[in-house]
Symmetry: C2
Subunit: 451 residues, 2 copies
């Protein structure tokens, strides 16, 4: 298992070592100092929203809980760790702790599909210190990436409108095979309709989606002499499937198809455009083939969809790949906020955190979020407020069955609908105001004084 594997795949059994070395060295130190079992709380949040983002859609919790529930170290893994020599001075109890260790803590989290803002915990872990420490890396990995993708997907859906068909095409540019599965999940939960990734679709209980590629047109044209024959051949086995018409000359291809539709020789339900001036080409294709679905692809994102709409494009659906699944990350962090009931905070330059176990209290007016109040978990809910963090795992056991992607997708949709227009802008959006409660601010001030 731990020998070199050219595929560099990983099995769920290996996830316990999918962590930064320092999580394990710190756990060893906690053990030696007699602190390993002290009750600790860590919170996962972003310090700032990514540039040009007015909100984030929380995502990735399901994989996080699955990881926590299954966390354990095999004897093979412990042996491999020991062999590194790094732990030669670690206390012997460290090894028995890992060998018998499971995650036995509680988890509070905002449901997947919920809109969140800077400094608001997406998740809190209340657990023995060593456990809460070592799970940091994996939890950040799943929540950072899936939150990024779900947020991008929600923004694309928001700008494209409910009727547009939005397809996830990013597998070839995703950052590893598993990255493509996670991207597909978060994209579907964030508002896209389907993915071209066959494995992801089947694993997620979806039907995969797609069109055709230039290679089919090129191969059949080379062998039979015409692009037209490629369309006919493909339609023979996939009647009505969208045809890719930009391999040579988009408008000429559309004209050819229109002629065949008129004479009844072909039935065309959709085409895809993958290059050129998509706005003007889509209009020309529309005039030739008025009743079909026109799909566009090629480095598209929410800003490009908006630009195409403004340019009067006649596009019914978008293939979204590279710019959906790659790019600047969501920079979530996971910070100690309490140990043995003592609130803690980091005071590093520009990276200071709020102390204590917190709750987010959200206030609405006629279905629209007015503001959030970031307070201590011990504070009372004020009238009209809804607390966002719920207990989802108790003593290492999930309290609920996993939600369906459809449930999460509906929550995402409702979350976006509850945002003021200015929070949904693609350019210079205005996030919801997050007010710090008096009690939290007093606690912060008292710790500043005491440090």
């Amino acid at each position: 298992m731990l020998t070199e594997d050219q595929g560099l795949t990983l099995s769920p059994d290996e996830y316990s070592l999918l962590t930064d070395l320092y999580q394990l060295t710190m756990a060893a130190c906690y053990t030696g100092e007699g602190l390993a079992e002290h009750p600790a709380s860590f919170e996962l949040f972003v310090r700032h929203l990514p540039e040009s983002f007015g909100y984030l859609i929380a995502m990735g919790l399901a994989q996080g809980l699955h990881y926590l529930e299954n966390l354990h170290f095999s004897s093979e893994q412990l042996e491999a760790l020991e062999k590194t020599g790094i732990f030669n001075h670690a206390p012997p109890q460290f090894w028995s702790l890992l060998a018998s260790g499971r995650f036995t803590g509680d988890v509070w989290a905002v449901p997947e599909g919920t809109a969140v803002f800077a400094n608001e915990p997406l998740l809190r872990v209340d657990a023995p210190l060593w456990q809460a420490q070592i799970v940091e890396t994996y939890l950040l990995n799943t929540i950072n990436y899936q939150t990024l993708i779900a947020t991008r997907a929600a923004r694309m859906r928001d700008i494209a409108g409910e009727k547009a068909m939005l397809l996830e095409f990013g597998t070839r540019r995703a950052f590893s095979p598993q990255g493509s599965l996670w991207a597909a999940r978060a994209a579907l939960a964030g508002g896209l309709d389907a993915t071209s990734n066959v494995l992801a679709a089947l694993k997620l209980g979806h039907k995969p989606s797609g069109t055709m590629a230039h290679s089919l047109v090129m191969a059949i044209k080379a062998l039979s002499g015409s692009e037209d024959e490629a369309f006919t051949a493909f339609s023979r086995y996939f009647p009505g499937a969208p045809l890719l018409i930009d391999t040579y000359d988009t408008v000429a291809a559309a004209q050819g198809l229109a002629d065949k539709v008129r004479t009844g020789e072909a039935e065309v339900r959709g085409v895809r455009l993958d290059s050129g001036d998509l706005a003007s080409l889509s209009q020309k294709v529309r005039s030739l083939l008025p009743d079909i679905s026109i799909f566009a692809s090629g480095d598209l994102d929410e800003w490009e969809i908006a630009r195409l709409q403004e340019a009067g494009a006649s596009i019914d659906g978008y293939g979204l790949g590279t710019r959906l699944v790659t790019g600047k990350p969501v920079n979530g962090v996971y910070k100690l906020v309490e140990i043995d009931g003592i609130p803690t905070m980091k005071q590093s330059s520009q990276k200071a955190t709020y102390p204590g176990r917190k709750q987010v209290f959200r206030s609405y007016d006629q279905g629209v979020i007015q503001f959030d109040r970031l307070g201590l978990a011990s504070e009372s809910i004020e009238e009209g407020e809804i607390p966002l963090l719920n207990l989802v795992m108790k003593q290492g056991k999930p309290l609920f069955n996993p939600e369906s992607l459809e449930t999460i997708r509906q929550r995402t949709h409702a979350s976006v609908a509850s945002l003021p227009d200015a929070t949904r802008y693609l350019h210079q959006p205005i996030p919801i105001q997050v007010n710090i409660s008096d009690k939290l601010e007093s606690l912060r001030q008292s710790l500043l004084v005491n440090s």
Copy 2:
């Protein structure tokens, strides 16, 4: 296997479905048209280098070959595909083709660690059309991502110098757990010294590396009252391991350590700075602790390393995370260049390709690359030229054992050393000139005329 799995892990057995749906629908169409077994050639290349990149370091071939060697479809997978209903009109032979199908083609590739430029094939697949088609998605996935990371790592090494200790810290921000493994592999092969990712290090036969986190300082300070005690505790189990000194006040922490070093109470070999003005803090820490290693981290990349050097920072090593493992992708594409011996090319607006099976002929002068010649594979090697693409897989079997990471890392180092200074610039680099051979240009022109 194909039921919903909350972990969204994947096993190597599943990789055959890790593809875009259209690869399979096209394979079905080829089968129905009697074209599935026609010999085809596809090449993988980038149309443009990423912005501010003067070169790419090819990476990810090992995972690609491993995938090709093991490619097969299980009866369970075929059943799941059939159940989607998408293939209801596909020819029956399609199912037997997949059931018995293995990859039986040849692969030509540039070795991992080689510098490549726009339009130069990193890899060519010569295989029956259906096989060459369906492997596109996976090959692009592994080569696009690992090439990005290896290139970033090589640039970081180039600017930081050979003596700097460069550590990969990106797991928490990587795009999925497997993404973190691939990032670690490519980063090490691209020139970094070690990774903090325990699982990746062990799988790659490396020793994981790391320091400590703020949470340890915060926890021990909260419980015992001092940051100092945190350092003492950690050093008890990990003597000489670098200490993280920016949790509260970097200079005060360094002063405290210096006092203890002077009195012989502590032995400090290294510290890490993770916030604040790293240039000026590193100088202050150096004046207090002249003989230790100073590590810096926090959203660093090659440009930031250069900036710190210019600002006179006194830093011995860098922790490289977020900006190494995320960001804009390498946009490799995979295009049909020949079918049944007939050269093909795509003529889409701004996405036109060069036809035919190609070779890259590289010319050096005193160890420095002068220019490349992109020609047809059938062209002769001219005096002094070295062809970059080698046959690495014959009829589905690899011709060589996988290379060690150390071998690839040395090749990367030699590749960067062979580039002119201007190609290595971080700002407005000048790529090596890629000359199109007369024969290739003639072929392209002839196909333009004939289309």
